[in-house]
């Protein structure tokens, strides 16, 4: 009887062990799947829409070391129902850029400013997009009026990054169109910390 009891207990422990292993494996799989496929944290991407355009800005992370280059991913997408032609006043970074601000709204950096003085014409198919990655190397600009009086490496702290387009016009004949350019699209800010 004792032997039978021991064998049954042993079998139960084996089954329990196998179940435990299976549960752990499943949990690991679920966790791995979640890590790979879960949507990014809502704080790392923002969008702004002005039909037929949607501007999306993404950051890889929200915390950076001092002097670390910060990659800013910008996507300007045609969300309308047909292909469009967009015109920008200058040829520079494909019509998208970014602004860095302190918490109080003071501008730290704004890129790009100006460029080649030729109208840039971009065709966006239905669902098509302009994709650009621009880098901010944690440099600030001191402006007095429109004069750049100096540049500096920004100190540790919290900064707000805003994606923006250049001013633009859509589906016009640029040779006969009249001002003004349509005001630029700006995303809400993403807060980052530099330490």
């Amino acid at each position: 009887m004792a032997g039978t009891f021991d064998a049954r207990v042993l079998r139960h422990w084996k089954v329990l062990g196998l179940v435990l292993i299976a549960v752990l494996a499943l949990a690991s799989g679920v966790y791995a799947y979640w890590r790979i496929n879960a949507p990014r944290s809502p704080t790392l991407y923002v969008t702004a829409t002005s039909p037929p355009l949607e501007l999306r800005m993404e950051l890889d992370k929200a915390e950076f070391g001092l002097n670390e280059t910060i990659a800013i991913h910008l996507f300007l997408r045609n969300i309308g129902e047909r292909a469009i032609k967009i015109y920008f006043p200058y040829i520079n970074t494909g019509g998208v850029g970014f602004i860095v601000e302190y918490a109080n709204g003071t501008e730290v950096f704004n890129f790009p400013r100006g460029g080649l003085a030729s109208v840039d014409e971009v065709t966006l198919e239905l669902g098509g997009q302009i994709s650009k990655t621009l880098n901010w190397s944690q440099i600030g600009r001191r402006l007095v009026g429109d004069v750049i009086v100096g540049t500096y490496s920004v100190p540790s702290g919290t900064y707000y990054i805003i994606g923006r387009t250049e001013p633009y016009l859509i589906d016009v004949d640029i040779a006969t169109a009249t001002p003004p350019w349509t005001p630029l699209i700006q995303t809400p800010p993403i807060a980052i910390t530099i330490s």
């Binding site: 006043p89 520079n92 100006g114 460029g115 080649l116 003085a117 004069v147 640029i174 040779a175 001002p179």
Partner: protein
Amino acid sequence: MLRLTTLFLTVALPFFVLFVPTAYAQKENLPWGVERIRADQVWDTDWTQDFIANPGANAGQGVRVAVIDTGIASHPDLAGRVVDGVSYVVGKQYWEDDNGHGTHVAGTIAAIDNGNHLIGVAPRVFLYAVKVDPTNLDHVVAGIYWAVGKGVHIISMSLGSPEDYPPLKQACDYAYSQGVLLIAASGNSADPVSYPAKYESVVAVGATYSNDNRWEFSNYGPELEFAAPGVNINSTFPPNAYQKRTGTSHAVPHVTGTAALIFASKVDPSYDLNRNGRWDNLEVREKLKDTALDLDGEGRDGYFGYGLVNAWYSNQRPPGDINYDLMVDVIDLSIVAFYYGTTPQDPQWWFGRRADINIDNIIDIADISIVSMHYGEIDP
């Protein structure tokens, strides 16, 4: 008028009939901007209207022009024009153009008269390609110093920024002090004039349509100095192609080319203020001002500057010499009288448009006045 007619019938008509053009043998396409500022009349001196620069004519030979831009690509219409260059773009050792903008600008300045497609304002200038990232003003600064070191006459900058960058101003002021004429785009955002065009040492250029109206996106302000064609400008584009572009970028090379034609000409003693026997940047700038077509009749203003740049009038030696015989005489007066009242709508326009000295698209009393004012003058 009776005296003029009598003069024409008795003295000039027999001569003029001999030289009136009888053929219209177009070999090069004349971009509308080059035609509008009448650059072809400076170098197409044989009256055949084939838009080929004639031997011995002034087509900008010997003048060195730096184009600070995206580089200049190899192109059949720019063959032999680029003599040197530099790249400030990281990872780009040479000045080959991977954008197209710089090649377009270069073509408007200097596309050659090879009987193939189009021609520029000054088809015999030498180009220096300075490849920069236009969003990086430090590149532009470095390019200016490089160009000064190469001894260029003109620096052409079809770019702009709303921000004043002191090192850029220092570079422009230095280049100007070294005798370089700097020409830049006013900008395309319907805002005040951009930098570097806004600096006093730089000539600011805005854009016009083919009907001389201002392109309304063209930046404006008291610093604006000239207007030039800038809408739907056809020019060279890589690879071995052509493209129409719009913007103050494309007005700049029309002024650059016109200035190059002046630099290449024999100095006008009345402009040679320092009596050194050659054109200096200040003197060329004055000549451009004095010969521009005031488009709104208000003198210098913030929308057109001094007016539309005029390659033809600024390169007549002496002013009023329509038939290239280096004197202003009864023949010049007779030509103006013969075509008096002619406009581009008239069939004889293409034969008579040299008489439209002030390029206001009508041969009228203003043109007669210019000839009369300089009557009897001989090129020294």
